[in-house]
């Protein structure tokens, strides 16, 4: 059994890699059908095997070991290895399932695209990279996966490379992620320096002893662990789009919609969350880091949700919603409610992928129109899309019983119980965020599917439901969006589902405290108890208010939003400008760096290095070489003379009388 399991572990990512290579290299030969058949089969295989691994892990069969040693440098081995436990098995199942759905969906969505094979090659490659990331048992492989998913994300955002906006967006994503990755790499370097190892288990077991070691950093005396956690969190801020490194995610919507669902909602952007959960033995040792994580997450959760209120592009609304939900997960990490954060990650993966794919389905029906102001009344022609979108929305806003309700409520409650600095602010931000979330979600729903149709007659006549390859994934994603929360709330939050893979110190254990507040029951009784409890708490009422407000503004009195925008024009403009992050980065940071670069280029490089050092040396060498070549006169007696001189030289130097 053990031997076989290792083979399965290897096969899960490798089947995706092989399929990606085949679809990428031989795409022309195998054709469109060949490309999607091979990648879908490979990902389906990965998914099935991931399920096997998942149940195997639940049965208590875990694995931590290296499969291949790449190099040993300075006593630190660089290895490829797998750590298969509850955390990674859950991620593997989620990643492969969503990926499979997206693969199938893509067959319909990208139907007429000339880059069909290339697209399948990329998403299969992404699945491989993401699996390597979550399965890793060491920091090097984590970094490899981290960079690889970033690379594929870059390639896919710029998939339509003829569009200037797509190129700008993928460059932006790449550059912003570089900032995060620099922090991440420094964090890994600090780990290698402090622990002399890159292996998770070695680092985690040595961490408690190293917790007290301090280091001066930027003039402040801090512990190594805090420094490491903060540096790693910088990486997570880039990858999981937390303020202020969030600016790339909305622009990434330039990529095809399946990508937005898979990479920029369900999986890659949650890599940062996963990483923090994985590093929980480190983060637990630094309350400073936890506080920072919580505050950053809370800022993202609330303020990004606000921007979602004023967006008109259907995908951008969902994108800001993703930012906000990532903020919720980050706050959960900061509150040491890792299990709740992971729980939300899983539920979010399903309902957000669902929402994106539903938005994609609308976009197909609208012939690639994305502005909600030109939609409306699509409920009738797109019944399946409408229904699944409603399910996704209810899950997102946390309607009792739907998956998002359980996970989001758990986070809010956990933050409420947290005693770390900043938890008060985080609690208010998250609770208020529920209202905003509800408002923009129902706004999207009302603007798109209800009300008077606002599109041209021409478009209107052609609007029809998407093909089955599109609707089947919607339905398949809608099912877990409803039930997964109820199904897993008990084991994941209170049942110690994640076992040893997450570590929480007793004094931080907000979920354990939370367990005291829920009814002491199991099964349906517990679910009902939690729902009842939830309905009495402020988030539920905020959600209701948000939904009603959206109804009033977009169905009942459609002229109201325009008036409000005029009346509160300062706020409206601030939101439309996304608080000016983009302008600040462009005008101050980008321009500043460019002008510094210009100075280095003109003076440092062109003048000093190229002018004096490189060309100067070359001139001197060339001149000298031209002179000494004349020693070679061609006369044999000159040659003999040189030999004699050489002989005498050696003798005078070395003969000591």
């Amino acid at each position: 059994m053990f031997e076989n399991m290792q083979l399965i572990y290897v096969a899960i990512p490798l089947s995706c890699l092989v399929a990606s290579i085949i679809a990428g290299v031989f795409g022309k030969k195998i054709g469109r059908a060949g490309a999607h058949t091979i990648t879908i089969s490979a990902v389906a295989l990965s998914f099935v095997l991931s399920l096997v691994v998942y149940f195997d892990v639940l049965a208590g069969n875990k694995f931590n070991g290296s499969l291949y040693t790449w190099a040993i440098s300075g006593g630190v081995p660089f290895e490829i290895g797998f750590l298969i436990d509850e955390l990674s098995a859950t991620m593997m199942a989620v990643v492969t399932f969503v990926s499979l759905m997206v693969h199938i969906y893509t067959v319909g969505y990208m139907h007429d695209d000339p880059g069909y094979q290339r697209f399948f090659s990329y998403i299969a490659l992404f699945t491989f990279a993401m699996l390597m990331l979550v399965m890793s048992n060491n920091f090097l492989q984590l970094f490899f996966g981290w960079e690889a998913v970033g690379l594929v994300s870059y390639l896919l955002i710029g998939f339509w490379f003829q569009r200037e906006s797509a190129i700008a967006a993928n460059l932006k994503a790449f550059l912003v992620n570089r900032v995060g990755d620099l922090g991440f790499l420094l964090g890994i370097a600090a780990i290698a320096f402090l622990f002399g190892s890159l292996d998770y288990s070695a680092v985690f077991s040595a961490a408690p002893q190293a917790a007290a070691v301090t280091v001066p950093f930027l003039g402040v005396e801090t512990t190594w662990i805090t420094l490491i956690c903060l540096l790693l969190f910088v990486g997570a801020m880039g990858k999981s789009a937390q303020v202020p490194l969030h600016v790339w995610l909305p622009d990434s919507m330039e990529g095809p919609t399946p990508i937005s669902a898979l990479i920029h909602a369900a999986t890659m952007v949650t890599a940062g969350i996963f990483m923090i959960a994985r590093m929980s033995p480190l983060y637990e040792l630094s309350e400073t880091a936890l506080s920072v994580v919580m505050v950053i997450g809370a800022i993202t959760a609330f303020f990004m949700a606000l921007i979602g209120l004023v967006q008109n592009d259907i995908k951008r609304v969902v994108a800001y919603s993703t930012l906000s939900q990532l903020g919720y997960m980050t706050v959960a990490m900061g509150a040491s409610a890792y299990a709740a954060g992971m729980f939300h990650l899983v539920t979010h993966a399903f309902f957000k992928a669902l929402l994106f794919l539903a938005a994609g389905s609308v976009i197909i029906a609208m012939h690639h129109e994305q502005d909600m102001r030109a939609m409306g009344g699509l409920r009738k022609p797109l019944p399946i899309t409408y229904l699944t979108a409603v399910i996704g929305t209810l899950a997102l806003v946390g309607f009792p019983g739907f998956s998002g309700f359980f996970s989001k409520d758990a986070i809010i409650e956990a933050v409420h119980l947290s005693k770390l600095p900043g938890s008060g602010f985080a609690y208010i931000a998250l609770t208020a965020g529920v209202f905003v979330t509800s408002f923009y979600s129902f706004r999207l729903l009302f603007l798109t599917f209800h009300g008077r149709p606002r599109m041209d007659q021409e478009v209107r006549r052609h609007v029809k439901e998407s093909p089955w390859v599109v609707t089947v994934p919607l339905v398949l994603l809608a099912i877990p969006s409803v039930v997964i929360g109820a199904w897993y709330v008990e084991p994941m939050l209170f049942g110690g589902f994640f076992g040893e893979s997450l570590k929480v110190l007793p004094e931080h254990d907000t979920l354990a405290q939370l367990a005291h507040e829920v009814p002491d029951a199991t099964g349906v009784e517990l679910l009902l108890g939690i729902m009842l409890h939830g309905m009495l708490a402020p988030p539920f009422w905020l959600f209701l208010v948000g939904a009603i407000a959206a109804w009033v503004m977009y169905i009942d009195k459609p002229e109201l939003p325009g008036k409000l925008a005029v009346k509160f024009s300062a706020i409206y403009r601030t939101l439309m400008n996304k608080y000016g992050f983009d302008e600040f980065y462009e005008r101050v940071i980008a321009r500043g760096i460019r002008s510094i670069g210009h100075v280095f280029w003109q003076i440092g490089d062109a003048k000093v290095i190229d002018g004096w050092m490189v060309n100067g040396t070359a001139r001197v060498v060339g001149w000298f070489s031209g002179i000494i070549r004349h020693i070679q006169t061609g006369y044999v007696y000159h040659y003999a003379f040189a030999m004699i001189i050489g002989l005498f030289l050696l003798m005078t130097l070395f003969l000591k009388f």
Partner: protein, 486 residues
């Protein structure tokens, strides 16, 4: 040593020598069109010579001819390398010498005599045997340079080579005679013992050492005893240049090891400083003057000078790893040099020598495969990773850093960077300059093309086996260091 004569250790030499005489006779009786028989016999001789050397391979030295001759790991590796490389030299040369009327039995026989000379050098355990081999090699080479009798350039080169070679031989012989006077023996192990009992500051001893060293320096072509190198490389028929530029370097390394390490290692402290001077001058001058060259053969001649300087770095380190690094370096160099000169032969045609740098212009457009091969060779010669030339440079530099000669390593690396210029210029000419008007297509025989391809790609493909090869080099030099204790 009793009265019986054990010739077993010398079988490779005896075989090649006998075959050379046989080919000389056979060649008299065949018609011009049948000359391929002599050619084939020559290749066969070299191949079998290599096999015989391989079969006698043993880590333990075997002495014969009254201890004048030794068969140890060093001699075997050197002999195998010499036979195989000479074999390739003749494969490369055939079309070229055929087109220039040099395709004669004598050419092959001279080549084989030179090979015998080099093999004797590799196995010499006695000053006179060593000198004998050296002179056999030199005389054969003088004739091979002059073989193109109607070429004024070749004749002039041969005259220069001969006159200066005679001078150098004289100096070396004089040095040996002084050592003989001091120690009363020409037998290398005996000399070693006697020198071990003397003061390292002994004036007469150092006097002798200087003369021996000058002789060696001339044969290797290091500054300031290098003046013959560019003129001979340039003037000789390219096939001969190819020969001079490859195997004699390996044989030269063998006698350096025999004399300096085998015989005079106790004077290491003294000759080390002399060799440092020679090495620095060679690396510097070779690389600097190479930049100013417009002729590819002359450029490669100066490159050879600088490469010999690099090889000396390993020798002067004075450690087993240093010697083995030098050995590795010289083997790699001979191999790269074989490819580079081979490429000139391949690009040459009847009545046209492709030996000017401008002849390489736009090679990529004319034949991208050959351009790629030349690119590999140039990268390797410049010492750019991952080509094997980089590892050769790395190991000698590592060796001198190990003995705390960091300043020397810095100089060597700086000049290697300067040297990279002229190798890269070749690449630039091939890939970025348009070809001249009216150049003809390149035609070459299939065997030549195949061997050339293998030769060039080997600079990359050999990488996985660098470890074992370096280990072999270490075994070879260790056999000398231990063997003479007998």
């Amino acid at each position: 040593m009793n009265g019986t004569l054990n010739v077993t250790p010398a079988i490779p030499e005896l075989f090649v020598f006998t075959m050379a005489c046989l080919i000389l006779v056979v060649d008299l009786y065949i018609r011009k069109e049948q000359r391929v028989i002599s050619y084939g016999l020559t290749l066969l001789t070299l191949g079998v010579g290599a096999l015989l050397s391989l079969s006698s391979f043993s880590a333990e030295p075997v002495f014969t001819f009254n201890n004048m001759f030794v068969d140890d790991a060093l001699s075997d590796v050197v002999k195998i390398a010499i036979c195989l490389i000479t074999l390739v030299v003749f494969v490369y040369s055939r079309d070229y010498i055929e087109a220039r009327g040099l395709y004669k039995g004598e050419y092959f026989v001279l080549g084989l005599f030179a090979v015998v000379g080099m093999m004797v050098m590799a196995s010499a355990n006695h000053f006179l045997v060593l000198y004998l081999g050296l002179e056999l090699l030199s005389l054969s080479l003088y004739s091979m340079v002059a073989f193109q009798r109607d070429s004024a350039l070749a004749t002039e080169a041969a005259m220069k080579y001969f006159v200066l070679g005679a001078l150098a031989s004289g100096m070396m012989l004089y040095g040996m005679s002084i050592l003989y006077g001091l120690t009363g023996s020409l037998d290398i192990p005996t000399v070693r013992q006697a020198v071990g009992g003397m003061s390292a500051d002994d004036v007469v001893l150092i006097f002798g050492l200087v003369f021996v060293l000058v002789g060696l320096a001339f044969k290797l072509g290091v500054v300031p005893f290098h003046m013959w190198v560019p003129d001979v490389y340039h003037g000789a028929p390219t096939s001969t240049t190819l020969f001079i530029g490859t195997t004699p370097k390996i044989a030269g390394f063998a006698i350096v090891i025999r004399l300096l390490i085998g015989g005079l290692e106790d004077l290491h402290g003294t000759w080390r400083d002399m060799v440092i001077i020679l090495a620095v001058l060679s690396i510097g001058t070779g690389n600097l003057i190479a930049i100013a060259q417009t002729n590819l053969k002359r450029m490669l001649a100066y490159s050879a000078i600088s490469h010999m300087g690099f090889m000396l770095l390993g020798i002067l380190a004075g450690t087993p790893t240093g010697y083995s690094a030098a050995f590795f370096y010289i083997l790699v160099y001979a191999f790269m040099s074989l490819g580079a000169f081979g490429m000139i032969l391949l690009l040459s045609r009847e009545g046209f020598e492709a030996d000017e740098l401008d002849d390489l212009k736009g090679l990529n457009q004319r034949n991208s495969w050959y351009a790629a091969l030349m690119l590999l060779l140039m990268i390797s010669m410049a010492g750019i990773p991952p080509a094997v030339g980089f590892f050769a440079k790395l190991s000698v530099i590592q060796a001198i850093i190990d003995v705390n000669l960091v300043w020397l390593a810095v100089i060597a690396v700086l000049f290697a960077v300067v040297g990279a210029f002229y190798y890269l210029r070749v690449i630039k000419l091939m890939y970025f300059d348009p070809p001249d008007e009216g150049v003809q297509a390149i035609e070459a025989a299939t065997d030549l093309k195949v061997v050339m391809g293998v030769n060039a790609w080997a600079v990359l493909l050999v990488l996985p086996w660098i470890g074992p090869i370096q280990q072999l080099c270490l075994t070879a030099v260790a056999s000398v260091m231990n063997g003479f204790v007998s």
